[in-house]
């Protein structure tokens, strides 16, 4: 398409969207888990290695995004590169990952504010914030781009600044083992993937950029910022609190770093940043996932009930179902304390998706060799093949990582059950849905202007 659009997004938005979607509040807990497996101060190195590997996945996504710049993103790429069934299964699993991240962020938010203001129960915080974001979404109110942009940079800037302050105040920095690779270092890298989860969710915005190169550039800049910010955070955390395993039960490592850096102000500033980060995760997650569910219902991959719109042209049923599911999952996680299960499952699913991105690059080069590619993946075909194998291994490792004292990998069981259910749904339920007689498009009664 050669014509130029009247309104387009700038590179800054590509960076902030990529960084913002990856920077969930649960990343603070993920950093603690990475440090536990890395054996302490070398957590920063595990996060850096995970970030470098993800740059190659980013290169795959850049090629796929340039090939088919579409909000349907993976739905299109996998359909073209493999087939419709695999595309649907992957899309559903991917969508569930968004719900996991929302639930995990709700868990962190609840613990943060029950620590900051103990008089108000954590579940009430979770319900209130989730309800507020769902309500604003259902009214068609969007968090302004500037607010979304600002939050990502404030979070990453705060992490860098506070972490450097903690490091500057720590005595005898030379006594620590910054390059010590423990026996579980591979697990540490596998879980480090979670820190970057969602960086590629900027690709569905491809249609809103005039220059296709903005997305790859945005992703790479965001990956660099995330690696530096969370690398420094893990370093500050492990230096200030060398007995990392004791942090695992605090659930609020970011507040502890805030306290160490700037006392009471640091504590409250971190609580505020956690709130805004969780809210942008809820907002971005519900907004994109509800539109995705709507699109699947429109092509009859889900019951048409999910394509019903409210008076403000928002897919209300899809939105409410996703918000309700996230809330129920958040309650379960809050009472069981099994947040590691979500981190491991999220890291596993994303690693598999990155492995699949390598497969898609190779497959589409063969199936559609003449189609224009504004961006080419690094080192084709050798690098995509190597990266595909590495991410497959990291995904298996993340799912095999124990989630509790029993040592049993519940994330693997959960992932397997979810996958089987999605395969059954795609092979059995969707063909029946597509056979149904088409009905009329519905908009709720009493809707404004419709």
């Amino acid at each position: 398409m050669q014509n130029s659009l009247s309104r387009v997004l700038p590179l800054r938005t590509a960076v902030s969207t990529s960084a913002g979607l990856a920077s969930a509040a649960v990343n603070f807990l993920a950093a603690v888990e990475v440090a536990e497996y890395a054996g302490g101060q070398s957590a920063w190195l595990a996060i850096l290695v995970a970030g470098v590997l993800i740059v190659f996945a980013g290169s795959n996504f850049s090629e796929l995004n340039g090939l088919f710049p579409s909000a349907a993103a993976i739905r299109v790429w996998i359909r073209r590169g493999v087939n419709d069934q695999v595309s649907l299964v992957s899309s559903f699993v991917y969508m569930f990952t968004v719900v996991f991240v929302i639930a995990a962020d709700a868990f962190v938010l609840g613990h943060t504010f029950s620590r900051a203001i103990p008089a108000i129960p954590a579940l009430l915080w979770i319900l209130a914030i989730l309800a507020l974001v769902t309500w604003s979404n259902s009214r068609g109110i969007k968090v302004a781009g500037a607010v979304q942009d600002t939050n990502a940079f404030v979070l990453l800037g705060t992490l860098m600044l506070f972490s450097l302050m903690v490091l500057a105040r720590t005595r005898h920095l030379g006594q620590f083992h910054y390059f010590h690779l423990g026996s579980n270092w591979f697990e540490a890298i596998a879980l480090g993937i979670f820190i970057f989860v969602g960086f590629e969710w900027v690709t569905p915005l491809a249609e809103e950029f005039q220059d296709f190169r903005a997305i790859p550039r945005g992703m790479y800049i965001a990956l660099g910022l995330i690696a530096v910010a969370f690398g420094l955070f893990s370093l500050a955390l492990t230096v200030a609190f060398p007995h990392v395993h004791l942090l695992a039960h605090s659930f609020v490592p970011q507040l502890l770093v805030g306290m160490k850096a700037m006392g009471k102000f640091g504590f409250w500033w971190m609580a505020f940043v956690t709130l805004t980060t969780a809210m942008t995760t809820f907002n971005g997650g519900l907004l994109s996932a509800s539109r995705f569910v709507y699109a699947l219902a429109r092509e009859k991959a889900l019951p048409s009930w999910f394509s019903r719109l409210n008076g403000r042209l928002v897919p209300q049923n899809a939105l409410m179902t996703l918000a309700g599911t996230s809330f129920v999952l958040a309650i379960v996680v809050y009472f069981t304390g099994q947040y590691l299960f979500l981190i491991n499952a999220g890291a596993g699913v994303e690693s598999f998706m990155y492995a699949l991105s390598s497969w898609l690059v190779i497959s589409l080069r063969r199936r559609d060799p003449k189609r224009a590619r504004p961006f080419h993946a690094f080192g084709y075909p050798v690098v995509p093949v190597i990266m595909g194998v590495i991410f497959l291994g990291l995904g298996v490792e993340a799912l095999l990582t124990p989630t509790g004292p029993s040592g049993f990998p519940w994330s693997l069981v959960f992932f397997a059950v979810l996958l089987v259910l999605m395969v059954i749904y795609v092979l059995v339920a969707i063909p029946r849905l597509k056979e149904k007689k088409p009905g009329l498009g519905q908009v709720s009664k009493g809707s404004k202007g419709v």
Partner: protein, 113 residues
């Protein structure tokens, strides 16, 4: 049916529907249709609730829609939902996501699921 005939049918459906006119009152957009096989440009303009269409380029478009002419014709004549070719990668759109969704909703409200 040609693409222009399909667009004219779409325009009639939109303009005859009072609820759609009301819904589009605050939605003024210029849409360029680019059939990637015939390169025969068409346009669709929504201006304060009233929709019009024609052949040729449009200045400063808010949205660009690219697909084979047969698919564009099927979409604007109601034979096919936009979602199916869109999710298959046969229909590429450039523009704001709210506008893309609005266009899909228009087809949903005119022709149903």
């Amino acid at each position: 049916m040609t693409l222009l005939e399909a667009l004219q049918q779409f325009v009639t459906e939109c303009n005859q529907n009072e609820r759609l006119r009301e819904m589009n009152r605050d939605w003024s957009r210029r849409i360029q249709l680019e059939p990637d096989d015939t390169q025969h440009l068409h346009w669709l303009v929504s201006d304060e609730g009233l929709v019009s269409a024609g052949e040729g380029p449009v200045d400063n478009p808010d949205m660009l829609i690219q697909a084979p002419e047969e698919i564009l014709t099927a979409i604007f004549s109601g034979e096919m939902t936009p979602t199916e070719p869109y999710n298959a990668g046969d229909l590429l759109v450039r523009g704001q996501q709210d506008d893309i969704m609005r266009l899909d909703i228009l087809t949903l409200l005119i022709w149903g699921e």
